[in-house]
């Protein structure tokens, strides 16, 4: 078949390449036009965010430019000149309804003809190419691949970009961004924001509570109740997690105004333990840790009377000969209860242990009496009230436990709620013979019997 009928036909291939380029450019432009509003929308979002958070204007500007460049690059990449693949030629052929002629001719145009010439010197493939070129030339490709009219998309994009520019200039700003734009330092902005966030009535209550605690004239139980009240107030300040930080700041201000320095000077053992316990909670969130530290400091001032009680408890324990872990546990329980949620839990469990180890009134011990760390009725009742409050708190907090947030594993939570259980399943070994496995296969259906027989007969 290899003859010299015709050489490859670069003209036809160039024509097809031009058509293909037009087709690809159209598709790329349509795609860019579809994507442009999204890019402009992204730019608008960035502009609004930049304005709100007080970022530099360069961020949305650069983003808009980059997005515009990316779209332009996409359009150029789609419409660049490149060799026409066979699939592309087939696609153009289908679009032009040429019945496979362009597809076939494009392939023949790329190589030397191999068929024998006819009497007039024109081979079949040469005739095929000539005929295909005529049909390609007679096809209105500009009508087949018209220019992309995406005015709506471009108008939308332009409008979004314009809105973005306007938003950059006159868009709304956050309070923080406004303060920063007024020349305040970030620390000053933070203080101002915190001051603005605390309601006046809450601030007044906190001041009053801190004042009462600072005076030190309260009984132990009253002091605890006040502390609880204070904590509740602090907890209400900011649901978003800033309450601890804010309370610290306010407590610091109140301490300076209410003269709590004497409490710091007192520095009793319980306060230091509370501080240690708070420090031991290094894994807690920063705001909670700050809150605990702050409360520990306040507690140090408010526990002067309580230290006396502890001394009595200690002497009582010495009488029973059971001084040690039980008393310390009860002591720690009281401190932790005042120190915060996490502390309350740990102290409560230890307190229970201490309670069980306490002896009764006799020399040999005896039945334990109610009271954490004490077998003396009056003090025990007070401690019992505090312990009851702690347990109630724990119950409330346990109900709000969230796996992965404030508890480590599901097992622990179940244990706390007395729901833990251990179970196992025994699977007996298969010791009996399953007769169904030895059953005969189902019979061949009558409809298939003749086919089955014929199937095997044919292969004989």
């Amino acid at each position: 078949m290899m003859g010299a009928s015709h050489e490859s036909d670069p003209t036809l291939r160039a024509t097809v390449a031009a058509i293909d380029q037009r087709r690809r450019a159209r598709a790329a432009r349509a795609k860019v036009a579809d994507l442009a509003p999204y890019a402009a929308g992204l730019g608008l979002l960035l502009a609004v965010a930049s304005r709100w958070f007080g970022w530099t204007v360069g961020i949305p500007a650069v983003a808009l430019v980059v997005l515009a460049l990316a779209l332009a690059l996409m359009a150029w990449w789609g419409s660049r000149s490149q060799p026409v693949s066979d699939a592309a030629a087939a696609s153009i052929d289908i679009d032009g309804h040429l019945g496979g002629e362009l597809h076939s001719a494009h392939w023949f145009a790329g190589r030397r003809s191999s068929d024998a010439p006819m009497p007039d010197g024109l081979s079949w493939s040469a005739y095929h190419l000539t005929h295909a070129a005529k049909r390609i030339a007679s096809t209105d490709w500009s009508a087949l691949y018209p220019a992309v009219s995406a005015s709506r998309q471009w108008m939308t994009s332009g409008a979004l970009v314009a809105i973005a520019i306007v938003a950059l200039v006159i868009g709304p700003r956050s309070r923080e961004a406004t303060l920063l734009s007024q020349g305040m330092t970030p620390e000053e902005v933070e203080q101002a924001m915190a001051r603005e966030m605390v309601p006046d009535d809450v601030q007044a209550k906190i001041d009053a509570l801190l004042g009462e605690l600072g005076e030190g004239g309260l009984s132990d139980a009253e002091a605890r109740l006040k502390m609880d009240e204070l904590r509740d107030l602090l907890g209400k300040l900011d649901a978003a997690g800033k309450e601890a930080e804010l309370s610290k700041e306010k407590a610091g201000e109140a301490a300076e105004a209410g003269g709590l320095k004497p409490a710091e000077e007192a520095g009793d053992k319980m306060a230091s333990k509370a501080e240690d316990a708070a420090e031991g909670n290094a894994g807690l969130p920063e705001d909670v840790r700050w809150s605990l530290e702050d409360l520990a400091n306040r507690l140090a001032n408010a526990k002067e009377n309580q230290s006396k009680t502890n001394e009595k408890n200690q002497s009582a324990s010495e009488e029973t000969g059971e001084k040690g872990k039980a008393a310390e546990g009860a002591e720690a329980s009281q401190m932790a209860q005042a120190a915060g949620m996490q502390m309350v839990r740990e102290a409560a469990s230890e307190g229970a242990e201490g309670q069980m180890m306490q002896g009764g009134g006799g020399a040999m011990g005896g039945d334990s009496k109610p009271g954490a760390g004490s077998n003396q009725g009056g003090e025990g009742k007070l401690n019992m009230a505090a312990l009851g409050q702690a347990l109630r708190q724990e119950q409330i907090q346990a109900q709000s436990d969230q796996l992965g947030e404030n508890i480590d594993t599901e097992l622990r939570r179940k244990t706390e709620q007395s729901q833990a259980k251990v179970s196992f399943t025994r699977v007996p070994a298969p010791t009996t013979f399953d007769r169904s496995r030895a059953a005969l296969p189902p019979p061949v259906p009558e409809a298939h019997r003749s086919l089955l027989q014929r199937y095997f007969q044919r292969r004989q």
Partner: protein
């Protein structure tokens, strides 16, 4: 002024249309069967006609032989038919001067168009007598090989319903048929025409349109049609796709087919596509031409496995699924 190629195309197209029109004067409906039969003749192949009795299979072959001005013979296949009854035999003759000699007496296979009626009723031994004739276009009797006259076309018919006492054609013989055509039951309108034509005192006479030389020229012209490699690749993918292990195979083919089509099937597809292109005035082969001829060229070459036969899955479904699944673009 038209070129030589254009003249060839026009001539081919005009003759093809005349043949089918003339056959259509006697055969009602089944235009695609007529066109495909002529295509197989021009492609140098043979045709297996399948249909229930009375739908005009034999009449079609008779009419075709009349239109083509070719030598026609008919063999009614029966279980007791022997190979010698088909190819011929050496018989003893006497010289005028005395003495005897063997003289070859040609069988009915020595014709241009051979109607092998109910081919599946003969034994495999007799069926195989056709194998050499169909493929090699020659017949060997004793030590002598006799060339068959060209064009040579075997039109075999078989009844798909009566399977008792039949010998289904082996795969090797099926593969030698260029096309397998299914003659369907005529429509109501076609039945009217059939009755009007066949129950009157006169019958339509057909005109002889082409002779053997003309057919051979048309065969040659069909082979000149160029086919681009991507289009040829489509035919190859379709052929390969009939094999259950092929990456082009569809899920049904993987489930129900034991063996697919042979390379001879791809030859038939391409050759038939070239003729199809010429009949549509094209000087090239398009994927559409391939698709038009793929079903009759592939359906009898798809061999079902037991599951396929038990569920009576039709090979046409397989090929149609393949046509839908395999893209013309590589």
């Amino acid at each position: 002024m038209s070129t030589a190629v254009e003249q060839h195309i026009d001539h081919f197209q005009e003759r093809f249309v005349r043949i089918t029109k003339e056959v259509g004067r006697r055969i009602v409906g089944n235009e695609d069967i007529v066109a495909n039969t002529v295509t197989a003749l021009l492609g140098g192949g043979h045709v297996l006609l399948e249909g229930i009795p009375g739908v005009g299979k034999t009449a079609l072959v008779h009419t075709l032989s009349d239109v083509l001005h070719l030598k026609f013979s008919r063999i009614q296949f029966t279980p007791d038919l022997m190979p010698a009854d088909i190819v011929g035999t050496n018989i003893v003759q006497e010289h005028d001067a005395g003495g005897t000699f063997f003289e070859f007496q040609p069988g009915p296979i020595f014709a241009n168009i051979v109607l092998a009626d109910e081919i599946n009723r003969a034994t495999p031994k007799t069926q195989s007598a056709l194998l050499e004739a169909m493929q090699e276009m020659s017949v060997s009797v004793g030590k002598t090989t006799y060339k068959l006259e060209q064009p040579f076309l075997v039109l075999a018919t078989q009844n798909p319903l009566e399977m008792e006492g039949t010998y289904p054609l082996p795969e090797a013989q099926l593969d030698r048929f260029f096309f397998k055509l299914k003659v369907t039951y005529p429509t109501e309108a076609a039945m009217h025409t059939i009755l009007e034509r066949t129950t009157q005192a006169t019958t339509d006479q057909v005109e002889r349109v082409v002779d053997a030389d003309e057919i051979l020229k048309m065969r040659y012209a069909a082979r000149l049609v160029p086919i681009a490699q991507p289009v040829q690749g489509y035919a190859i993918r379709l052929t390969l796709g009939t094999h259950p292990t092929s990456p082009y195979a569809t899920p049904m083919i993987k489930q129900y087919v034991r063996y697919g089509a042979s390379p001879r099937a791809a030859q038939a597809v391409v050759l038939a596509a070239k003729i199809h292109a010429l009949t549509h005035g094209q000087a090239f082969v398009s994927p559409e031409n391939i698709r038009a001829v793929a079903l009759p060229a592939l359906r009898h070459r798809v061999l079902m496995n037991f599951e396929g036969e038990a569920e009576q899955v039709d090979a046409d479904v397989m090929v149609n699924e393949l046509l839908a699944g395999v893209s013309p673009d590589a």
